[in-house]
């Protein structure tokens, strides 16, 4: 498998953020995940976690296939981020707002991926936000702003197809905006 040569979108984020869920919501075929019993209950209390990676795909009518990868959530697999992210059309970072580490996770993942490939479309989805706050996304925006980083940050529930679709549509819009010249025909 030539991971850098294929059309792909990568979902990343810490354990339990919703990567498997997002790929399940959008993939044509049920994702191939390598779920195992979670023996790191300390990091996140859930029954199973993804080792290696999640893999789904979108098979388009003209035969083109867009692959969807989810990076493993456990920190000890962080070496795979760069391999998976390389050549991807975009990286979608998912963060669980309820996690006590949410802001640090956001900063860590964003700076790592921006460091690997600064021009790559990068979109953040924040799940499980409490809407009662006046501007619930403000702390997330501000944390990245202190590093001079402005990226799309959306409140999402990736269990919903439309929300995951929005994240992918944003990756496409960013790529389109960077294309120097219009091709023949129009949208």
């Amino acid at each position: 498998m030539n991971a850098a040569g294929e059309l792909k979108i990568v979902f990343t984020g810490p354990m339990g953020a919703g990567k498997t869920t997002a790929i399940t919501a959008i993939s044509d075929t049920p994702p191939v995940s390598t779920e195992v019993a979670n023996n790191d209950q300390q990091a996140f209390a859930k029954a199973s976690t993804t080792v290696a990676l999640d893999f789904g795909q979108l098979a388009l009518s003209d035969g083109t296939v867009v692959r969807l990868y989810g990076t493993p959530g456990q920190e000890r697999f962080a070496f795979m981020w760069e391999i998976l992210g390389r050549g991807a059309m975009g990286v979608i970072l998912l963060i669980d707002a309820n996690s006590p580490n949410a802001l640090n996770d956001l900063e860590h993942y964003t700076r790592t991926f921006r460091g690997i490939s600064p021009g790559q479309p990068f979109v953040v989805g924040i799940g499980r936000l409490h809407d009662a706050a006046d501007d619930a996304l403000a702390p997330f925006r501000e944390r990245l702003a202190t590093h001079g980083i402005v990226v799309p940050i959306f409140s999402v529930d990736v269990r919903k197809h439309e929300d995951t679709q929005l994240l992918i549509a944003t990756v496409m819009a960013i790529l389109e905006a960077r294309m120097p010249e219009p091709e023949h025909g129009h949208a």
Binding site: D131, D135, S155, E176, H186
Partner: protein, 346 residues
């Protein structure tokens, strides 16, 4: 028992808005309205109470810069303080009593406090005139948006305002504009730009009704501004360069219609890639003119974009290597959008 506090008796100031004798451009009307709604929203937050009055009874008279100078001089000679509204975009404020449209609410508030202090020196006791109970906010399509913007600038979370149409209250805005409340039906109308055909009036109230949806203020302002007009908001300039400060939360603001969302995403992404004037953006964003204008209106109303003061910005595109689809990215994206839409209809 303590003695009645003298500070509880608030001073009342009279202020007049002088319409130009000759009927000028819409912008003059709009500037006066904006000042009017700001006055109203500031009630209770300024040191003194400011009440609209005829020029003859006023401590302060607000005039347009085109006002005849003999009329202005006559008012000055009667001891009235003059505030000048300028609608020339390039105009420099001639002095601290000149407001260049679109003047920010904070500037008006500090000007009022300054005038107030000045009047303390020259004050003659006057009977307070009846204050207007409410402001009608739909004299033009932007006045409701302006009213909400003013509420946000006033930052008064201790009060609530009700917004009424001819049938009664339809929604409630907190005095800092950061929250609003309404029924599910009103929210649906708001998102589709069908809030009300009849005049909307804002009025100060104690608390909203119970059992309403509670949403963030950005949502109210975004949808109102998006639907206000298919031409530019009065404060936007076609040839001024704007940059994206941050992305709006489309997870919350999108209305679930793919065409609208795609257009909004393209406009925002185009601005994010490169600061642009609206005129340039219309060429770059590859969306229908109306969609681009509406999205810019909403972005600017909510403060997501700002004017770039410096000279022409340089391209900020950073290259990265993505695998290239055989038929090109645009074709790929057309297919991918169609694919996802079909599947969302399942």
């Amino acid at each position: 028992m303590t003695a009645p506090a003298a500070s509880q008796a608030r001073t009342s100031r009279n202020i007049a808005l002088l319409k130009p004798a000759r009927d000028n451009e819409d912008l003059v009307e709009h500037a006066l309205q904006l000042f009017d709604s700001m006055l109203w929203v500031f009630r209770g937050t300024t040191r003194s109470d400011w009440t609209l009055s005829p020029p003859a009874d006023a401590d302060v008279v607000v005039v347009h810069q085109a006002e005849a100078s003999d009329r202005v001089n006559a008012l000055r000679s009667q001891g009235k303080l003059i505030v000048v509204l300028s609608t020339q975009r390039a105009a420099q404020a001639a002095d601290e009593h000149t407001l260049v449209y679109p003047f920010p609410a904070t500037q008006v508030m500090s000007l009022l406090e300054q005038l107030d202090e000045h009047l303390d020196g020259v004050r003659v006791e006057k009977a307070p005139t009846a204050s207007p109970a409410a402001i009608a906010t739909n004299q033009n399509t932007w006045s409701f948006v302006d009213a909400v913007r003013t509420v946000r600038a006033a930052r008064n979370p201790g009060i609530w305002l009700s917004v009424e149409d001819s049938h009664g209250p339809v929604l409630w805005v907190r005095g800092d504009g950061a929250r609003y409340q309404c029924s599910a039906a009103t929210q649906a109308a708001l998102r589709l730009g069908q809030l009300s055909g009849s005049p909307l009036v804002m009025e100060r109230i104690a608390t909203p009704r119970a059992g309403l949806l509670n949403g963030p203020g950005d949502e109210l302002l975004w949808h109102c501004a998006y639907h206000a007009s298919n031409s530019y908001a009065p404060w936007l300039n076609e040839s001024t360069t704007y940059r994206l400060r941050y992305w709006p939360d489309l997870g919350q603001l999108r209305i679930g219609d793919d065409l609208t969302t795609t257009s909004q995403l393209r406009v925002i992404a185009a601005l994010d890639a490169l600061p642009s004037s609206p005129r340039m953006l219309l060429k770059r964003a590859r969306v229908a003119r109306e969609h681009a204008i509406r999205t810019l209106n909403a972005l600017s109303a909510c403060g997501f974009i700002e004017v770039v003061e410096a000279a022409a910005p340089t391209a900020q595109r950073t290259q990265f290597q993505a695998a290239k689809p055989q038929s090109g990215f645009r074709q790929l994206f057309r297919n991918l959008r169609r694919h996802l839409q079909r599947r969302s209809g399942r």
